[in-house]
């Protein structure tokens, strides 16, 4: 906790970075080159303190009082109303008269000090904003005198019990703090505003460089200026735990839900990565539709195509959006990020979150933003976006286009930090058509299947299934020769099971022996049992790393077995399990998944697939 008493500024995001506001009864310095937004920030603070009932005095030096009032009114800060209400006063200290001003010999600053003092006496002023010190000391006095005058002024403010905000010009974004070079020494808080050209884009940022007696967030934070003033996007926005901890919702794909233990966590940020054509937009559409169909409010930002084309494409694959949009559950907003600055885009997003109040946000794709900005600009955007979503406690699905080989690897550290879940889509070029796959790279706080599932584009969206195929059609596509009607298993990645303890529950002796042999050859320590009762006894005696269980068993079925394992206290309840069964229909798979199995393999199983599936399951967190 900070010992410094603070006054909130009301500037969006600013009070998060400065841990609650500006220091009460002390001086704060806002520094920046021309055009960085110092005056706007000062006006916003003045309006907020006045609205909070603190008598506020604005000293206009750089511009006339009338010009500042007009600027503030144009930002909807209603200076005119605040002045009429007696809560705000603007005093003019700009160059007094059109004519020459000559400085010669010694002087002090008591003229201004007495004017401020009169305001304190007559109007009870509590907050003073000086715009700016640079203009006040122009022409610039000799350095020693300048230091003395500025110190006199700050000490006078403090003596009068005023909370002051002093604006000062910087010569450069990174270098000597102010052109005068004296202000920061006597101010308790120093804030630097920057507006730098980064690549071909402008990038605004705000940094609290010093805060005497108080903690604050360090480093530069992206900010932007709009018709409503300055908005800052804190990286480390306070997360609101909210009432949704642990609550899950459907991703829109039952197959994907099955991979991630039942669904996505409420308020989580999901990044879907994959090459062009891997199904990212469809997955985004499924996610959006599922939310809207549940009656939630969803905002879908399409950054890659105009709205009519997006709507047409979605309708063409059986995911019409227009009815959901008419019902008010779905808002589709298509924009080209290239046409607007990233900060402006963040403000648009913030306004969308505040006005539409969606529970889910979709962005397809963030790569359009990535390509229209510098790496640093994109990083700041993503961090700002994440903080916006966290601040509003919203769930989001963001798609990102990457090369196929990069989908499952090479996630920029900041993106990895932002995402609660990362899904990698990919495809392999088969002889007839694409063989698409979906892999869960990360699912914070949840178990998940770590090997890829098959993904097919079908009417009504995407179909996500375990790597099991049945029937000749799929076999042909997979390029494997087999008899029609027979079940084969798609090959998975090779894996070693060295040292992994596997509990096998299988009532048929031959099958039990074959599977035991396969697993032992891969290095696993296998405990084969024939019944549910034996299986449960073994689970309690020595929890395995992975369970392989048949569904049809003599005493009870494999589903009941897994339910009982899942109901046990402690870590044993989380042991991953694979159903190994002759039943391979979609409803069988769904039943197994609902019962608590992570994967479903159909007999006869390909040994390499069995080994790789078990290896993937055992290696997960």
């Amino acid at each position: 906790m900070s010992a410094v008493e603070k006054i909130p500024t009301g500037v969006p995001g600013f009070d998060i970075i400065n841990h609650g506001g500006i220091p009460k009864g002390r001086s704060s310095l806002l520094v920046g080159r021309s055009g960085t937004g110092k005056t706007i920030l000062g006006l916003q603070i003045a309006a907020h303190t006045a609205r909070q009932g603190l008598s506020t005095l604005l000293i206009a030096v750089e511009e006339s009082a009338d010009d500042l009032i007009s600027t503030a009114d144009n930002l909807d800060l209603d200076f005119t109303g605040l002045i009429a209400g007696g809560r705000l006063r603007v005093t003019d200290a700009s160059r007094p008269i059109e004519g020459p001003v000559v400085v010669s010999g010694e002087y002090d600053i008591s003229g201004l000090v007495h004017r401020v003092q009169a305001n304190v006496k007559q109007h009870g002023s509590q907050v003073v904003i000086l715009d700016s010190a640079t203009a006040l000391f122009s022409p610039r006095p000799p350095q020693e005198l300048l230091r003395s005058l500025f110190t006199q002024l700050v000490h006078a403010f403090r003596r009068m019990g005023l909370t002051s905000v002093i604006l000062a010009e910087a010569a450069e974004d990174y270098g000597q703090l102010t052109t005068l070079g004296v202000e920061d020494f006597v101010c308790d808080m120093v804030v630097i505003l920057r507006n730098v050209v980064d690549g071909e884009r402008r990038r605004r940022s705000l940094e609290v460089a010093k805060y005497r007696g108080s903690g604050h967030y360090k480093g530069e934070y992206p900010c932007t200026i709009t018709t409503r003033g300055l908005t800052i996007f804190p990286l480390d926005a306070r997360e609101r735990p909210g009432p949704h901890i642990g609550e899950r919702y459907s991703s829109g794909s039952p197959g994907l839900d099955g991979m991630i233990a039942g669904g996505l966590f409420r308020d989580s940020i999901v990044i879907v990565r994959g090459p062009t054509g891997s199904g990212k937009t469809m997955l985004a559409g499924l996610y959006a539709r599922a939310g809207a169909l549940r009656g939630e409010k969803v905002v879908y930002y399409g950054f890659e195509e105009p709205k009519p084309i997006l709507m047409r494409n979605m309708a063409a694959i059986g995911m019409p959006m227009d009815e959901l949009e008419k019902a008010g559950n779905l808002h589709i907003i298509c924009r080209y990020p290239e046409a607007m600055g990233l900060e402006d885009l963040l403000v648009t997003l913030r306004m969308g979150l505040e006005e539409i109040e969606p529970s889910l946000v979709v962005m397809d794709s963030i790569s359009s933003i990535e390509h229209s900005s510098s790496e640093k600009g994109f990083r700041q955007f993503m961090i700002g976006l994440a903080s916006l979503l966290r601040e509003h406690a919203r769930g989001a699905l963001l798609t990102q286009t990457v090369l196929g080989s990069e989908a499952a690897t090479h996630t920029a550290p900041y993106l990895s930090t932002i995402a609660d879940a990362i899904l990698a889509l990919d495809y392999a070029l088969g002889p007839a058509e694409l063989a698409r796959s979906l892999r869960v790279l990360k699912m914070r706080g949840s178990s998940h299947v770590t090997y890829p599932y098959r993904l097919e584009i079908a009417q009504g969206g995407l179909q996500v299934e375990p790597p099991t195929v049945r029937g000749s059609v799929r076999t042909e596509r997979a390029g494997r020769s087999t008899d029609a009607g027979k079940t084969v298993v798609a090959p998975g990645p090779p894996a070693s099971l060295q040292g992994i303890r596997v509990l096998l529950v299988e009532d048929f002796a031959d099958a039990r022996d074959i599977v035991t042999t396969i697993l032992q050859q891969a290095g696993a320590e296998v405990t084969p049992v024939a019944t549910v009762a034996e299986g449960l006894a073994q689970v309690d005696r020595q929890p395995p790393d992975v369970i392989v269980a048949d569904i049809g068993l003599p005493d009870e079925d494999g589903i009941e077995f897994i339910r009982r394992v899942r109901a046990r206290p402690g870590e044993v309840s989380k042991v991953p399990a694979v159903a190994l069964t002759a039943w391979g229909l979609p409803q069988d798979r769904a039943r197994a998944r609902d019962g608590g199995f992570q994967a479903h393999l159909v007999k006869p199983v390909d040994p390499s697939t069995l080994v790789s599936v078990l290896g993937a399951l055992a290696g997960r967190s």
């Binding site: 010999g105 008591s110 009169a118």
Partner: protein, 92 residues
């Protein structure tokens, strides 16, 4: 012609400025100007109207013209120049 000097009554610099100004004005016809000395601790309305920040500040007004001199007025030549800019001519 109006010659207004804003002073801080507690400042030696302001007292010196007043003396320097009065000495400089000895060279001019007293009928040609009106000297007003304002105390920034009391004459707040006037110092607001004239946007006074520093003391001492001398304002020389003549018709639509005005010029401002900030400082202790120790440099007689500068003061004379300012008074001349304000339209006053030395009688000496």
């Amino acid at each position: 012609m109006e010659v207004v000097l804003y002073v801080n009554p507690h400042s030696a610099t302001s007292a010196r400025a007043r003396r320097n100004l009065e000495a400089a004005l000895q060279d001019y016809d007293p009928a040609a100007f009106r000297l007003i000395v304002r105390d920034v601790s009391r004459d707040v309305q006037e110092s607001e109207a004239d946007h006074i920040v520093f003391t001492p500040t001398l304002i020389v007004r003549h018709a639509a013209n005005a010029c401002v001199l900030v400082g202790d007025l120790a440099d007689r030549a500068t003061v004379t120049t300012m008074l001349g800019l304000g339209g006053m001519e030395s009688g000496g």
